[in-house]
């Protein structure tokens, strides 16, 4: 490998056989290039889709109600089901060991919020302190609602980033008062939400305050829960499916809903969604890997073909070299040295080219479903190594055969 004479011989051969070198190099470089770009796009799609789904706690169960669809116990279909505080409390009580976070949600309709001259219409919800974790809302300033606020019916509010920007501009909102539908609330915090702006134009107030001030009595609109951590995804999914089924049954009994009614009580089990999501991710991953591996195989076949042709073309030359005193292994070494050198350089060129393209173009891609396409450098390098090894193997067998045949036979080759 470090035989200088050999390197000179190889460089000379490469220099004098530019077309052959170019073709070998091209097939390797383009194979690597396509593979890296494909893997990059695949990763980008996964990143993009992840970002879309990363809004809330991944294992959240969200309950909402609608109208009944079937007649039951003499009650007509079309009846609106209204959740009550009692539903929430008994659920929380019953599953006290299983639940991690829990909150009821009271929705205040037509939530008009004013600060001085600025005014806006936002989604205003009465929630419990746990809601911060259920909605996955990091605080930018101040604090979230706590149990004191809830117990003391405090008129305090936590506002989203969008609300703050709309109403307060540059002013620090914490400690200021806003009017929500004409009633003064003190702002105690500002939150952001990875779910994006749509989830940042909300205002949260204590559940108790919301129900009392806005005449909600003991009505609630939604309930949100997360279950405690499990060891793995499968058992987490099983636990949340079980809880979801039991909760549905319990609520149906409470509200006299037919067991077969699928409209009245709805539970969105995000883990179930997550499973579909992970399956989708896996599919994307397998798809791109599948295509990538096919590309690599095509590359290997291409390189092998070229190596076969090269060795065939050089048979007579090999005969001459042997007549002049080349040992068989020096022939094999010569062919392999050249092929490894060319495929390695070409592979690296393809690799660097494609990484550069991803690096340059990647950040400019602005669709919802592709974000930050990138490739694990190790994976990309491994594919280069695979191609180089494949090229070497593909060159080895014909070279070995050519090196073994009697020089007179090689010389006779036309």
């Amino acid at each position: 490998m470090f035989d200088l004479e050999r390197w000179e011989e190889i460089f000379e051969t490469i220099r004098k056989n530019k077309l052959r070198t170019f073709l070998t190099g091209l097939s390797v470089a383009s194979g690597i290039f396509i593979l890296v770009i494909l893997l990059g796009i695949g990763q980008g799609m996964r990143n993009g889709i992840s970002a879309e789904f990363e809004q809330d706690a991944a294992n959240i169960l969200y309950v909402w109600t609608g109208r009944t669809a079937v007649e039951y116990k003499g009650l007509n279909p079309g009846r609106q089901i209204q959740l009550k505080n009692a539903d929430f409390q008994s659920t929380a009580q019953k599953y006290i060991d299983e639940l991690e976070y829990k909150s009821a949600v009271y929705r205040i309709w037509n939530g008009v919020v004013d600060y001085k001259k600025e005014t806006g219409s936002y989604r205003v919800e009465g929630v419990l302190p746990d809601y911060q974790f259920l909605e996955n809302t990091p605080l930018m300033q101040g604090r979230f609602l706590n149990y004191q606020d809830h117990q003391n019916y405090e008129k305090v509010a936590v506002i989203g980033k969008v609300v703050k920007n709309d109403l307060f501009k540059e002013v620090d909102p914490v400690g200021k008062y806003v009017e929500i539908s004409g009633i003064n609330f003190k702002v105690i915090g500002v939150f952001s939400d990875p779910g994006g702006e749509r989830e940042e134009n909300r205002v949260y107030v204590p559940l108790s305050t919301g129900q009392r001030v806005f005449n909600g009595q003991n009505n609630i609109n939604n309930m949100a829960f997360t279950l405690g951590k499990e060891d793995n995804f499968e058992s987490a999914l099983a636990a949340s499916n079980k809880f979801s089924a039991e909760l549905q049954q319990f609520l149906k009994e409470q509200h006299s809903v037919a067991p077969e009614d699928t409209r009245a009580i709805n539970i969105n089990n995000s883990l179930e969604n997550a499973k579909r999501f992970y399956d989708l991710m896996d599919m994307i991953k397998f798809f791109f890997w599948g295509v990538g591996i096919c590309t690599i195989i095509a590359g290997i076949v291409g390189v092998s073909n070229i190596m076969l042709i090269i060795v065939k073309e050089r048979t007579r030359e090999i005969g001459v070299r042997k007549a002049l005193g080349a040992e068989p292994w020096s022939i094999v070494g010569m062919v392999l040295h050249e092929s490894i050198f060319v495929t390695a350089i070409a592979g690296l060129v393809g690799l660097i080219g494609s990484l550069a393209l991803l690096e340059l173009v990647g950040p400019m891609i602005e669709t919802n479903y592709i974000a930050n396409p990138s490739v694990d450098f190790g994976v990309a390098l491994t594919t280069v190594v695979i191609l180089v090894v494949a090229g070497a193997l593909a060159g080895f067998f014909p070279a070995y055969r050519a090196a073994r045949i009697k020089p007179i036979v090689a010389l006779r080759d036309e």
């Binding site: 004479e5 005193g325 009697k406």
Partner: protein, 233 residues
């Protein structure tokens, strides 16, 4: 220098075996210039290839400069070819992407000589065959006679004990043939042992001994009064 006894060689083609050499006995002393003649298919090339270790005999013994040539593995055969033998082929067999100089230097590469030294040596041999000016030319930029002179320079570069030439003038016109023969005679006069296969009588007359092959045996082996090629040039 060369001793062969009862040499046999046959080729298998499908179910047939073609017995080409049927017991050749023949010695060559150091410094001889021998031509091997015979009709087409008489086995001249086969014999020369065996002498050159490019091919193997089926039977018989071959001793080159006191070394028995038998059951060699490829590695040792390669070394012997490199040190003991120089080849000149009818079709030149130059490597087409290498310059005349690099072609001549190639056997020295396989001797493990450093680049600078081997290019110097190669240049000296090119000079000897009168092609200094053509050192950097590729084979396809040379005439047939020039190519054969490059091939001769290459065969001599490793300073072999024996030079083997299979119809070295077969692809050349008469005048060029004589020029090449003149060169071969000069090399022989320096003491090198040379074997030439040819079927041209005038070429054979320019050697010192003619061996006639027919149907795989030597039918005639005689010394001749060498005709100097220079007279014809």
């Amino acid at each position: 220098m060369i001793e062969i006894k009862d040499l046999h060689k046959s080729y298998k083609t499908g179910s047939n075996t073609l017995h080409v050499l049927k017991g050749i006995n023949f010695n060559v002393a150091e410094g001889e210039l021998v031509s091997i003649m015979g009709s087409s298919g008489s086995g001249k090339s086969t014999l020369l290839n065996i002498l050159g270790m490019l091919d193997e005999a089926d039977q018989g013994s071959y001793t080159l400069d006191g070394v028995p040539i038998k059951n060699l593995n490829e590695k040792i055969a390669a070394r012997y070819r490199n040190r003991f033998l120089g080849f000149v082929f009818q079709s030149f067999n130059l490597i087409n992407y290498k310059t005349a100089l690099d072609n001549v230097a190639l056997p020295l590469y396989y001797q493990g000589m450093k680049r600078k030294e081997r290019l110097e040596r190669a240049m000296a041999y090119l000079d000897k065959v009168g092609l200094t000016a053509w050192a950097q030319h590729l084979p396809n930029e040379l005439s047939g006679g020039q190519k054969q002179r490059v091939a001769i320079a290459r065969a001599l570069a490793s300073d072999p004990k024996v030079l083997l030439a299979d119809e070295p003038t077969g692809a050349l016109d008469t005048k060029t043939s004589y020029e090449v023969m003149d060169l071969i005679q000069k090399i022989n006069e320096e003491g090198r042992t040379i074997l030439i296969v040819t079927h041209e009588h005038d070429i054979a007359e320019m050697t010192k001994r003619i061996v006639n092959l027919k149907d795989g045996v030597i039918i005639d082996d005689r010394k001749v009064d060498q005709v100097k090629a220079l007279q014809h040039v």
